[in-house]
Every structure is written in C-alpha cells, then in structure tokens.
C-alpha cells in the first residue's frame, strides 16, 4: 500500500512537561475528507497543531507527499502546500476581505486575481464584501473568509480547526457543503470537529481520539454505524 | 534561571560590602565630605526606590509620576517648617478661601450635571458652560488675592508661609500629602492598564511640578524657598563650641572639615533610621497575608479577581503606600538641601533614574531596590566625575585647544545618561529580575503548598 498523501505518524507531543498526544496517527488522501473527533481534551486540536508544525514533535513524523516535513516551520509548510484555518482569530479584522485574501497569498502573489476569481465562485461573499473590513462580518461570513484566505496559496491539504464554532446551524450545512466542493477538486481536507455526527456523515475517513491515542479509525459511515462509537461519543 | 540558591545570604552581603568599600574608597581618594554627601543622597534614593518597589514589585503598578510625589514631599517641608507670613494671610487669605470654595462648588456642579442630565447632547455643553463660568468666577477671587499675597515683601516672602513647626514633622507631613494626592490620582487612573497608567502618571507629575513652579503664593515658585530650618546643628555653630574644637584637635582634623562631616553624619543617622524603619515595615507587610495576596494579584490578576479580590482597591492601597514613602523621601531631600527649588524637579532625575534603581536592584525585592538606590546613585554621581576624567584621558593626544577636545570636555558630564542607559539595558538583558532578584517560591504559593504537605 503506498503511503498516504499526508500522514502524521506515531506523534508524541504536548505542552510543558506533560504530553497530550501519546503516539497518535492521522492520515488523509488527496480528494478525501478526514475528520478528527473525540471527547473534550482528547487532543484533537493538538494533533492538528502538531501536524501543521505549531508544536514541536517529541516523537513521530509528518510526511506530505512522501517528503518528511517534520522539521519545517509553519510558513514553510504553507509554502509546501498546506493551508491551515485556526479555530479563532482566523482573519485580520481591520483588513478588508480582499486584503485578507492578499495576505493569504503573501508568499506567492502571482496571478492573485485568478485565484480570487476562482474562490469567489465558491464563496460569493468574497466579491460582495470585498472592501469591507473582515471584523465587521458575521461569524459565518468570517469563517468563509478564513477558509478562502487559507485557500489562496492553492494548498494540496486544507486543515480546519473546528470551523463551525460560533456559526449558526444553517450556515454549518452550507460551510460543510463548500468543504465537500473543495475536496471534490482533489484537495485533501482534514477537519477537527465538535459536531461529530454531522461531520462523520460526509467524511471519507474518521479518527476518534481518546486521551491522545487513536481509539477508532474507519470510514465516516463505519464509525457512525459502530455501536461502540455511537454509545461513547455520539450520544447513542 | 536558578538564582534563588545563591541569593540566600551571600549575594546581598557581598554586594552591600562592595558598596561600602566603594564609599570608603571615595572617602580616602576624594574626600570624606564627598563620601558622606553621596551616602546621604544614597539613603534618600534608596527610600524612593523602596517606595517605587512597593508599587511595582508588590502590585505591578507602572508609576512614572515619582517626580511629582517627591516634589509634594518637598512642598510639605516648606508648608510645615517655614514660619507663617501673617501679612500675606491678612491681605489674601479670605480671597483664597473664597476661591477654594467656588472651585469646589464648580467641581460639585459639574459632577451633579454629569449625573443629572440624561440627554447626552446637552450634557457636554452644559458641563463646559459651568466649567468656564466656574473657572472665571474662581479666577475673579483668586487672581487679586494672589497678586496681593505675592506683593508682600516679594524678595523674601511673597507667599502664605507655613506652620512654623520643626522640619522633621514635615517628613510625616510629606508622606501624608503624597498619600492624599496619590489617593485622588489613583482613583482616577488605576483602572488603566500598564502603559496608560505610566503615561497618565507621567503627565500628572509634570502637571504637579508645573503648579509648584507657577503658584508663587504657595511656595514662592521658581523664586525658591532657601531658608528652611534644619534638624541638625549648623557647621558654624559646631565650630564655635569648645568641646568640638577639642574633639577636632584630638582627631587631628581641621574643625571646618570635621564639622561638615559631623553634620552630614547626623543627617545620615536620621535618614538611615527612617530607611531602616520603613524597610522593616515593608518587609513585614510583604511577608504578611496582605503581601502574599498582593503578589498573587500581581502574578495573576484574573485569577485573583475570580477569587473575589478587589484588585483595584488593593492597587489603590499600594499606590498610596508607595507614594507616601516617596513623599517622605522628597521631604527628606528638601531638608537635606535646606531649600525648595521647584525648577530642579526633572523627570530624568526623579522618575526614570529611580526606575533604573528598582530594575537594576531587583524588582519585588525590597533589599534589591535599596541596593539599586545605593548603587545607581553612586554611579550617577561618579559618572559625572568620571566622564570628564575619561574624556581627558581619551583626548590627551589632541591639542590643548583643539575644538573637538574642548567640546568633548564640555559635554563629558553628560556621559552619565549614556552610562545609566547601558547599565539598565545590560542588567535587563543578563539578569532581568535585577541584581538581587525576588526570592520566588520561598514565600510564594508553592511554598505554602509544600508547607501544608509537610504538616
């Protein structure tokens, strides 16, 4: 079996003296949506940060397209083809929507117009509000800008840390639909999500983390059907 | 950074010893008079640093208004120790009282309007109107009274005078005056976060000193009060005493020299005891439950607030206490100088230099602040002497009258600003918590936790 496109393998890391992740493995293929779910404090966001390089690995490795990227800094990983949307503070509030997108493409400012044009087809708000400061947008709109900002580098992997936090339920549907469109374009998507049931329903792959370790791994539907997973994490 | 182990007893002792040796060296090499003069100002500087450390080290308050409180202490010395000028009171006392009443009335009216008028658009203009009218009314009483007071024998008095009490009383009064003003200022500004507080207090101190410089009726302004009484005998009086002449013969020293040293030593004794008492009090306070709470607030304000501590109130307490200590030092300084010269209060000397003392000495540690006061004052004085010496050495290759040499020699005393800045930056970089860091963990929360485990 060939190596997965993006894989964080046997990761051990944490803050201060304590380890949060105890050898967990996350992987995602191109065009696939992988969702990390699990109870609070299981290390979901930590796993995301470890893969993106915001935390130093104590053990384990991260490979992207067969290359070992474990020692790259986050900006270098962006250059290598990763896009990351933090959970909070994920836009520049006093910059306009358009300037936010420009900052997304700060490292590779070529044919920026084409890319904005492309993204605007996915997120019409980018055109409608292009001159408004991002800080004045509603939560859902801001999340769209945040995703678009991360997409400006034309990444091969898009990582979303709890993208639906603070977004109204109707807009959650819409946001997930956009994410599916992004994946359909051949991009690997990795999501950390509180909304486990909804996320698993469209995910190609799901990772259930408990106390920093992989507990269950399978396709989204498998996990939804698994009685153990349902009982423990999806509330029956 | 593990410095706690070697700060137990050794480091303070050796640093203090080195400081004492340096003073002795000045005494031997320059003169004992100079050494004693330095010592006296070191004691006062240490006291000021102690006051700032109470605010910054205990409470994390960024007070850049030290100059103002020092000046208030000085004002207290004048208001307590100078004899009252009856004539000035007679011509202007009533007018000043009326002006005070109208001023208070204006303030009250503005406050009432702020409370009563609900329509926002009206509130501003109404308050502005009352302010202007009140100001005009106050000035109409104030200006003629001031003119009358200042006309009373302007070359000697021209002010209301003081209470005519012994000048040592003014040390307490200086503390009280500084504390009272600090309370008012604290009420206004302590809600502000660090940088704003620093800037606001810097502004207040500038405003306070502007008042002292301009209100001649209060303490003669820039005409200075130069005839303050002394708590110690005058040199000439000592020289006239037979026992003193005998003593000087026995010591083998010129009476005039010995009298200067003796007077300075008496001052040093007085200042030293005040410093000791206040050091002891603040040490006790720091290690009381109150002190622990203060440091808890400083280290984690949010947690302390969540535990129900009234943080702003505590901050007001340390602000007032620290300012009182600075006020006492200010009164002592004027006592030592024998004169009150408002124009001499400059933020460099009286605010930022004291901060250098606290940071270099060790914020949070009273002993450190005091050491910083001694050390930095010593360097500040010696850099003024050392600068020209260094420049003479550096430029000795040049012609005697070369313009560059002349210029460098002229400006050499200003080396000390440069030296102070470099010391501050180097200490901040290499030992960010100062030469005598606050012993953390020994009296902190960790210690308490360990203590309960043992018991």
């Amino acid at each position: 079996m060939p190596d997965p496109f993006l894989i964080g393998e046997a990761i051990i890391c944490g803050y201060g003296d304590a380890n949060i992740l105890h050898g967990c493995t996350i992987s995602v293929e191109k065009g696939e949506i992988a969702v990390i779910v699990g109870p609070n404090g299981a290390g979901k966001s930590t796993a995301m940060k470890a893969i993106f390089g915001l935390l130093t690995l104590r053990e384990g490795s991260v490979h992207l397209g067969g290359q070992d990227i474990s020692t790259l800094t986050p900006p270098d990983r962006v250059a290598a083809g990763m896009g990351f949307v933090p959970q909070t503070h994920n836009v520049f509030p006093s910059l306009t929507v358009r300037e936010n997108l420009e900052m997304g493409a700060y490292l590779c400012p070529q044919n920026i117009e084409d890319r904005i044009e492309q993204l605007a087809r996915l997120f019409p708000i980018l055109k409608e509000r292009s001159r408004q400061p991002a800080g004045e947008l509603s939560g859902g709109q801001r999340q769209q800008v945040a995703v678009a900002r991360a997409m400006m580098t034309q990444p091969q992997v898009l990582m979303l840390d709890e993208p639906t936090a603070g977004v109204s339920p109707i807009l959650v549907q819409e946001l997930f639909a956009k994410v599916q469109e992004i994946a359909a374009a051949g991009i690997a998507v990795l999501i950390v999500e509180q909304n486990a049931r909804q996320a698993l329903s469209f995910a190609h792959k799901g990772f259930v983390l408990v106390q920093g370790k992989n507990r269950f791994t399978g396709t989204g539907q498998d996990l939804l059907d698994d009685p153990d997973v349902r009982q423990s994490f999806l509330g029956g | 950074m593990r410095m706690d182990t070697d700060t137990g007893m050794g480091r303070p002792f050796w640093l203090a010893l080195a400081m004492a040796m340096a003073l002795v060296a000045v005494g031997v090499l320059q003169s004992w008079n100079v050494a004693m003069a330095i010592l006296n100002l070191q004691l006062i500087s240490a006291l000021m640093a102690l006051g700032v450390n109470i605010q910054w080290g205990y409470g994390g308050l960024f007070n850049f208004g030290i100059m103002g409180f020092t000046a208030l202490g000085g004002l207290a010395a004048v208001l307590v120790a100078m004899p009252p000028v009856a004539e000035a009171w007679a011509v202007g006392g009533r007018g000043m009282a009326t002006a005070a009443v109208t001023m208070a009335g204006t303030a009250a009216a503005i406050w009432a309007l702020h409370r009563l008028i609900k329509v926002k658009a009206l509130r501003g203009p109404a308050m502005a109107l009352v302010f202007v009218v009140g100001l005009a009314l106050t000035r109409s009483f104030y200006s003629p009274s001031v003119a009358a007071i200042e006309a009373v024998d302007p070359s000697v008095t021209g002010f209301l005078g003081g209470l005519g009490l012994p000048i040592m009383v003014s040390w307490l009064a200086g503390g009280a005056l500084a504390a009272a003003v600090a309370w008012v200022i604290g009420r206004i500004t302590l809600g502000l976060q660090s940088d704003y507080l620093a800037i606001a207090t810097l502004g207040i101190s500038a405003a306070l000193v502007a008042v002292l410089r301009n209100e001649d009726w209060l303490a003669r302004g820039v005409k200075n009060v130069t005839t303050l009484p002394r708590p110690v005998p005058y040199e000439q009086d000592l020289q006239g005493q037979d026992w003193f002449v005998d003593l000087s013969v026995r010591v083998g020293m010129d009476p005039s020299l010995l009298s200067g040293i003796a007077v300075k030593a008496l001052y040093a004794l007085l200042f030293g005891s005040v410093l000791l008492v206040l050091f002891w009090l603040s040490h006790r306070a720091l290690h009381s439950p109150w002190g622990r709470m203060m440091r808890a607030i400083r280290d984690n304000r949010d947690a302390a607030e969540a535990m129900g501590k009234d943080v702003t109130r505590r901050h007001l307490q340390v602000f007032v206490l620290g300012s009182a200590v600075v006020g006492i030092a200010g009164a002592m300084l004027v006592t030592l100088n024998g004169q009150f010269t408002p124009a001499s209060y400059a933020p460099f000397r009286y605010t930022f230099l004291i901060w250098v003392m606290v940071i270099v000495g060790g914020s949070g540690n009273n002993g450190g602040a005091i050491l910083g006061g001694f050390l930095i004052w010593f360097l500040w004085v010696q850099a003024e002497v050392g600068g020209p010496w260094l420049m003479t050495l550096l430029t000795s290759g040049l012609q005697e009258d070369a313009p560059l040499r002349q210029h460098l020699l002229n400006v050499a005393p200003h080396m000390r600003q440069l030296v102070m800045g470099c010391i501050l930056l180097v200490v901040l970089r290499l030992s960010p918590r100062g030469l005598l860091p606050e012993p953390r963990g020994r009296h902190g929360l960790a210690q308490q936790r360990n203590g309960t485990e043992h018991s």
Binding site: P74, P75, V78, F84, P86, H89, N90, V91, F92, P93, S94, L95, T96, E99, E102, M103, G104, Y106, P109, R131, Q132, P133, G135, E136, G139 | F62, P125, I188, T189, L192, Q193, S194, D195, A198, A200, L202, G203, A206, A207, A210, V211, N214, P347, F348, W355, I359, H407, N410, V411, A412, H414, M415, L418, V419, M420, G421, C422, L424, L425, R429
Partner: protein, 392 residues
C-alpha cells in the same frame, strides 16, 4: 458573536462608495469627525451671536478679532498639531506592530533633528543652500539616516531579543527607557545640551507689516515659512504613509501583523522584516517631526524630551494603534494647549468686551497640565480614543 462595527481609518474612504447594505450603514455610530465638526459650528455660531449682542457704540471689529485669532491660535496650532501628529504617528505605529509604548521616541526625534542640524552646518559650510527654503530640508535625508541607524541598532541589540522571547510589554517599555537614556546621552554628548538655531532662508512668506498694508487692518497676520513647510511636509508624509499602508504589499503586511500576529506568521509574513520597516518608518517620522519642530521653535534636547507627554497624549487621544487617530490627536492636543493658554483680552476687545484681565484660562506654563487633563478625560470617558484604537 459580532464585534461592534468600528469605522477604521483605513477603509473609511472606500466604504461609502461601496454598496453596503443599508442596515449595516445605519447601525454604524456617527463618524468620529462629526463631533469636532459640531463643535466648530458651535464656535462659529457663538462668534456670530457675540458679534451681534456685543454691539455697543460700534466698537466691534470681528475681522480684526478673527485675524488675531488666526495669527496667534490657528496658524501656530496647525503647525504644532502637524509636528505632534507626526511624532504620535511613530509612537502609534510602534505600538500597533510591537505592542509597547516607546518612551525613547521623543529622544529619537531629538537624535534625528540633531543629525539634520549637523548636516545643515556642513552644507552651509560648503555654501549649499535651498534658496528661500531652510537648508535643513536638504539635510533631512542625513538626519533620517542617522535616526534609522540608531533605531535599527537598538532593535538588533535590544528589542529583537525580547521579541523572540515574546517578553511582556512592560519589559519592552523598560528597555525603551534604557534606550531613552542612551539616546538622550548621545544627543547631549554629540551636540551638547544647549539651544541650537538652524533655520535659514526666508523667515516669512507674509510679514505682519505687509499684511497690514495689504488689508488695512490694525491686526497683522504673519505667515512664517516654517509654518507652511510644516504643513506641506506633514501632508506629504501622511499621504505617503497612507498610500504605503493601504496600497503596497509590505504596508498591508504591517497592518496584518498589527491586526493578528499569529495569523500573520502563518501567512508567511516575516516578523523581522515588519519590525525592521516599522523602525525605519518610525525613525523617519521622528526625524521629520523633530526637524519641523526645531525649525519652528528651536532645538534643545530637554525640550524634545518634554514633547514625550504631548506626543503620547496625541496618540492615545486619537486611539492608539490608529494612524489617522494620531494625526487627529495631534491637532486636538495642540489646539487645546494653545487655546487654553492664549490670552484673549485683545480679541475680546475687538469684539466689544474691554477688560483689564488677560482673559487667559491658564498660564502658559500649564500646557502640560492641559495635555494631562485631555488625556485623563479621554481615558475615562473614551478609553479607546477618537478612532477606537486598541485597549492597552
């Protein structure tokens, strides 16, 4: 959670032209400049009413009063406001990007101005002049070079260490006090503590006498070269800065970094580059402000140190971290200082109120007190300043 919409100085010019839905438009609080506008209208109306009410025996002379007001309050106020605004712009930029109040900024102004003075002397010695304009304008690049070098040395030697440590803002403030001592010491060592005059060229564009002859009024209006230069240079610099911040990738990156440091790092914005350019711009602004102030008044290290307070007041009054706020704050502080300490007796005389008193609200020495009062009033009632800057 929706943050309160705040008019940002950067977008205010574009928002209006853009089709934003009307709801959002009406929710927005009144534009920050409306209040000063109303005050100005009020003052004008008041003057008009005064001129009608006080008509006793035709002793009223509104034109002369206005000319005197312009000569002693408006023109000096504009000039001083520009100087303060440029200084505050530097403070506010440093705050926005590096998140600390730079107490060394006033001394950086003195250092830059000192470089200009020294270069002016050299140029004068070589017989080079700018004709009717002060030679200092030609010397400006040298002063800027000096101040930028100094700022970068400090950044490399001092601030970068703490930036990498992500030290608390207070550490930066204390370090900036160290930098203040060093800069101050350097200025005194190099040029001495004394007064320096370095303005040359034509002193006046319009002389009092000429104005009187031209208009036949008893009050004269003097338009000094330095006032006009201050205004022109300040407008050019501010426009340039705004174009830089809003149009160039680097300027946008600086704003992005000021907005959200972590996200800026993720986007690949190099913090060292942002810091470098912030210092370059701040030192340039400081030199220009210092030179303009020195041309207008005179150069004295201690006076520059005293500018620290009005500069901070301007930055805070305008809303710290907001460039447009710094300019507005500069004008508010400058006009308040002058308006509160100017004796109005003669103006009132022209308006028909003869009095013996000077009608001066506060003695000139209280200009710091005015500064401080504005500061406190703003901090208490509008802690984020006119333009809703950051809360420190």
């Amino acid at each position: 959670m929706e943050p309160p919409p705040h008019p940002s100085p950067v977008d205010s010019n574009v928002v209006d032209t853009q089709a934003v839905d009307t709801k959002a438009e009406t929710k927005r609080p009144p534009a920050p400049w409306r209040r000063p506008l109303w005050i100005a209208v009020g003052v004008a109306l008041g003057l008009a009413v005064l001129s009608m009410v006080s008509r006793d025996g035709g002793g009223i002379d509104l034109l002369n009063a206005l000319v005197r007001f312009a000569n002693f309050v408006v023109i000096p106020g504009i000039s001083y406001g520009c100087q303060l605004g440029l200084g505050a712009l530097g403070v506010t930029l440093i705050y926005a990007v590096m998140r600390f109040s730079d107490f060394a900024h006033a001394d950086t102004m003195a250092f830059g101005a000192m470089g200009v003075i020294l270069a002016t002397r050299v140029l004068q010695g070589m017989g080079i002049s700018a004709g009717p304009l002060p030679t200092a304008l030609l010397a400006l690049p040298f002063g800027i070079l000096g101040a930028v070098t100094l700022a970068l040395v400090f950044d490399r030697a001092v601030y970068r260490f703490y930036r990498r440590q992500r030290a608390a803002p207070v550490t930066f403030v204390i370090a900036s006090i160290g930098a203040m001592f060093v800069t101050n010491g350097l200025v005194r060592l190099i040029i001495g503590p004394g007064d320096q005059r370095f303005a040359d060229g034509d002193r006046f564009i319009i002389r009092v006498q000429t104005f009187k002859e031209m208009t036949g009024l008893s009050e004269g209006l003097a338009l000094r070269t330095t006032h006009v230069i201050t205004l022109v240079v300040a407008v050019m610099v501010v426009l340039g800065l705004f174009v830089f911040l809003n149009r160039t990738p680097l300027g946008k990156a600086m704003r992005a970094y000021a907005d959200n440091e972590d996200l800026a790092l993720l986007s690949g914005i190099n913090p060292e580059r942002v810091a470098l350019w912030t210092w370059i711009i701040a030192a340039t602004l400081a030199t220009i402000a210092g030179t303009l102030y020195g041309l207008d008044k005179s150069f004295k290290p201690f006076t520059y140190f005293q500018l620290l307070l009005p500069i901070f007041a301007s930055a805070i009054v305008g809303g710290i971290g907001k460039p447009l706020g710094a300019i507005a704050g500069g004008f508010v502080v400058a006009f308040s200082e002058i308006a509160f300490t100017y004796p109005y007796r003669k103006i009132l005389g022209y308006l028909g109120f003869e009095t013996d008193s000077l009608v001066q609200l506060l003695s000139t020495d209280y200009k710091f007190a005015v500064c401080f009062i504005i500061l406190v009033v703003v901090l208490i009632w509008r802690p984020r300043g006119i333009f809703q800057g950051r809360v420190i």
